[in-house]
Structure formats: C-alpha cells, structure tokens
Subunit: 337 residues, 2 copies
C-alpha cells in the first residue's frame, strides 16, 4: 500500500538527474533528460514521465545507447544544422545545436535542424513548445523502429513516427500538439494487454499479418497499423523520409537491436523546422492564432491540444507534483540516495 | 450518346487556355491554369481536370476572382518569399514568385513561399511535383473556406485543408502525395448524392450538427468532419495556421462569398516549403528514398501514392488524352471556336 506525496519540480528533476548520472550519463546528458522527464510528469503526461526511467536505465545497461556520447554539430547551409548524436540521446544533441539553429532561423526567417544516430524516449511536445515561447512556429517529425505496417503492406516498415507542431499565441501558452501516426501508441497496447481489454478494430495485426483486436497478439510479434487509413500512412511515409533520408539517419526498418536484449530506447532520426512568423505575416502572427483559437472555442471546441497539460502544469507548479511514496522510494534507491 | 476521342496534351491545354482567356483571364493566367488542368486530365485525376472548367468560369463571371490580377511578390527574408495574389488565382501567383523562391532554397538550403488572397481550384500534387523534379523536398498546405467541423466542435471552422508532399527518387518519378484533411472531399459528397449512396459513418454532419450519412443533408447546410478523429483535426488546425496566419491571409471561417452567387473557387492561402536535401544528408538523398520505396514494395505495398497517375501519364502521353466527344464539343464552344 502506498500513499501519495507532492514533490517540487526542481527536486524531482534533481532526483532523476542523479539516477541517470548513476547509470552512465554524463552530467549534461543527465540534466536535459531529467528535466524533460520531470516536465512530462509535472504536466500530467505520465506515459512519458517518471514511468520512462526504467527504459532509459535498461538501454544504458544494455549498451544500446551511449550516455557519454558527445554530439557533433555541423553547419551545413545558411538555413541548415545537422547533428550526429553519436548513438547518444536526442535531447543533448538538440541542446548542443540549439543556439546555432535559432540564430539561423532568426537570420534567414527559417531553419532546419537534422538529428541522426540518436535515441528518443520522451514526448515530442517538449521538443517544440520552447521554440514557440521564443516566437517561432516549430514543426518536428521523428522516425524510429519498425513497428507499424504501411497501408496496403504486410509487414512493419514504419516507426510510430510522431509529428509535433507548436505556434505562439498572443498572451497565452503556445498552441502545441503531437501525435503518433500509428493508430495507437506502444504504451496503449501494453496497458490494454495488462487490463485484458480489446484494441479498437483496425489498429493492429498479429504475427501472421492478420487483423486482430488482441493486444497480446500485437505484442507477440504483431504490429500496429497507421491511423486514418491511407492518409495516416502517407504521413508516416513522409516522416520516414524526413527523419531518416533527410537527416542522413537510418530508416525504421534498418534499425536492429536484437544484440542488445532489454534495450528500450528507440533509435531515431529527428527533423525540426523553425519559421519566424513575423517576417512574412502581414498582421502580428500570435494575435492571428489567437483569433483562430477564439473561433474554435466559440464553435464548441472545449479543449485545444495541450490545454490539459497546461492546467496540470499550473496546478502542480503550485502544489507540487504528486508521486506515489513507494515510487519515490524506488527512485531514491535508483539514485543511490 | 457520345463516343470518346483522344486529344494531345498540347491541344487540350491550348483549348482550355482559350476558354479561360475568353472568360476574362489575362494570357499568363490562362496559360498556367490551362496547363495544370490538362495535366490533371492527362494523369487521370478527373476530379481536378476538365471537370473544373465550369467552376473557373462561374467564379470569373460572378466577379469572385480577378482573372486580370497581377500578383505582388515580396522578398521578406533570406529564406522567405511572400505573394499577394490580389484576389487572382494561386497558380500565377506561385509562378510569379517561383524563380526567387527556388534561388533562395538553393542558397540557404531551404525556403518558404507564402501565398495569400488567392483562389485554388486545382489539385495540390501538381504544385509540389515539379519542385521534386528539381531535386527539392517540397511540402505545401492550403486552407480554404469553412466546410469542416473541428473534432469536438459544432460548426464548420476549417476548410478541407489539403497537404501535399513530394520528394525526389533516384531514377524514378518523384514520390508525391496529397490529401484533404476532411474525411471526404466535397466532390465525393456530390457524387454520393447524385448516385443515391450513403456516406461512410463519421464523415459528415447535417445543418443541426448531428451526425449523418445522407450526402444531401451534408450539402444542405451540413458540413464534413476531419479524417482520423483528433489527429486529423490537429493537422487541419496546423494547416489553418500555416495557410492563413503565416501567409497573412484569411482563415477559412473569415471568407464570405455570399455576395457572389455561383462562385466556385475557394479563396485560399497556401504555404510552401522547399528543402535542398543534399545539403544535410550524409548519403545521396534520392537514393535513400529509393531504398525506402524498395522496402515498401518488398513488404507488399503494391502502389505508392501517385503511381496510378504516372501510369496514366505514360499511357495518355503516347495515346492521347481520352475525352468524350460531346464534352470536347462543349469545350470548343466555350472557347468560341
């Protein structure tokens, strides 16, 4: 039995940092992964919060990801930055390239950041939201590891290939969304299996490529389908091109972790685009986005993507982040405290 | 009763050009719309081919679009071009900006073209395919006129808001797709109504905002839904931001053509992005895309987006474009021949 305590953001972030450092991450790597993980937990995005720490540790222990990797940033064009994450995590790679990337976007009006040879286990919205806070429109796409069957195909070729978008709003938190182009996330399938529930029809196939609603059949060598039929599949294809071919990285189907049992962090490529919206717009951009949001609310849309997270953020920043006492004890033990 | 004849691409294009010129388009405008319309017909994309000529004429006659408009091109940043189509068609506006746009993309590694105050009645794939033939990755998004209800909303806010993507393939026609973010296109609904068929569940609502599968109820003051639930709706939202807020144009819900009965060309804003993929890629980009395509075919995907059109193109370029004799006679009469 366990109660719940509330922990300050900085305290949770420091604890997660110590855990990652204790498992082989250099300080800068531990710091940025811990912060992003704590942000997800604070914002109520539990599937990408503290829950993920075991996955990070497993990949580090399996030698699948290099917690000591030092990313190599290259200035390849006036509007393009390329980063080789050197088989480390994506977050420190983007952090290393960030200043150059933003400077290019300010100077040319837009820029792209191309990350390859990287591991991404966090949510994608924390990748784009900070850019919108600096006034940019931000778009990101990530390919990962083959787990999704293309429309009309038999076998998994695509990753769950998420896309994320953020835009500034006048006087408000940014407009932010992200979603996987698979019908479900891998976590959704695991939860359904644990709870003995069926998957929605049209979301997965078994190991023989036959449609199934049995989550265990999907987990036992099966695969997911894309959302939205051929349209979602076209998006997944685009993200495969942007995350791998454009970055110089690997396609999802080219990644093989069979020599690293226990590994849990998807090997990924990530595409970022920033646009400075006030260079081309004829009216202040953030005010225009606000006009659109007002119209959406006026016609019955109660909650925009991201608004639930912002509500959690406000609440938990004041009251502390709720965490089960036994989970907290386990985290402290992992940190060697 | 009518037979079918075959007409050469150049002959059809010239005929359409004469029709548009006879209905108020200046020569450059008539030429680029006629060519794109003939391309769609040649490629078997009949919904955006000769079928659309009546819509162009109706909008010109209703005074809704200006066939004489001269677009104003502005160089707003090292990587951004902005065009005011001056209430003319989009195609001549993008044509006027094309050289500057491509030069910027070559120089900086990527560029955006932002078109506003424009009318787009053609398919979107012809907008992006030519850029991929020049070696670019091309992305485009168009907002239009309120006809689509956001996920969780009651009333139409978004347009059918299509997205298009193109990327070069080594030794092959480019990889190209486009799709509307609405569950169906407006044309799909019209065809279902004419044929007395039901719409798929979850694609439309009636004038009271209630779900319906009756196409006539959608046409009589109803609206469409987005494809793919909240994910498709998030894309439609992004396209609204990119097509209107970013270009300095109008949101779909801000467009009102009630003073122009008969008008048929959606008032739109269009976002273009070009990326030079060989600046950042570590291996030749088009070869990498080809590797992905081979894997898709190997795992059972028989036809990629766009491949049916390429097959029609090959066939009709050799044999001529099939057209019904009575339709051809009507086109000649519209051209004053």
């Amino acid at each position: 039995m366990s109660g719940t305590v509330h922990i300050a953001f900085e305290e949770l972030s420091a604890l997660l940092r110590d855990i990652l450092a204790a498992h082989g991450c250099r300080p800068e790597v531990a710091a940025c992964i811990a912060e992003t993980c704590a942000i997800a937990e604070r914002d109520g995005a539990h599937s990408h919060g503290v829950f993920r720490i075991d996955g990070y540790i497993a990949s580090l222990e399996a030698g699948w990801v290099d917690g000591q990797a030092v990313p190599v940033v290259e200035d390849v064009a006036p509007g393009q930055v390329r980063v080789d994450a050197m088989n480390g995590f994506t977050l420190p790679a983007t952090a290393a390239a960030r200043e150059l990337f933003v400077a290019k976007a300010r100077r040319t009006g837009l820029a792209t950041l191309l990350v390859r040879n990287s591991h991404h286990l966090s949510a994608v919205w924390p990748d784009v939201e900070p850019f919108a806070r600096e006034g940019f429109v931000a778009l990101s796409m990530i390919n990962s590891m083959a787990y999704v069957v293309p429309h009309g195909g038999r076998d998994a070729v695509y990753g769950t290939n998420p896309i994320a978008f953020a835009a500034p709003r006048s006087g408000q938190n940014p407009l932010v969304f992200d979603f996987a182009t698979s019908a479900l996330s891998h976590g959704d399938v695991q939860i359904a299996a644990r709870e003995g529930k069926d998957l929605p029809a049209g979301s997965g196939v078994d190991a023989q490529g036959q449609p199934t609603t049995d989550p265990q059949a999907v987990l036992d060598g099966g695969a997911l389908l894309t959302f939205g039929g051929h349209k979602g599949s076209a998006l997944a294809l685009m993200i495969e091109v942007m995350g791998a071919a454009l970055t110089g990285g690997k396609f999802s189907f080219e990644v093989d972790w069979s020599d690293h049992p226990g590994a849990a962090t998807p090997h990924t490529g990530q595409f970022f685009l920033l646009i400075d919206p006030d260079r081309g717009a004829t009216r202040p951009f953030a005010e225009r986005v606000e006009t659109l949001v007002r119209q959406l609310h006026a016609t019955g849309v109660e909650r925009l993507p991201g608004e639930r997270r912002y509500a959690n953020r406000r609440h938990n920043s004041l009251k502390g982040i709720p965490i089960a006492t036994d989970q907290l004890a386990r985290l402290r033990s992992l940190a060697g405290r």
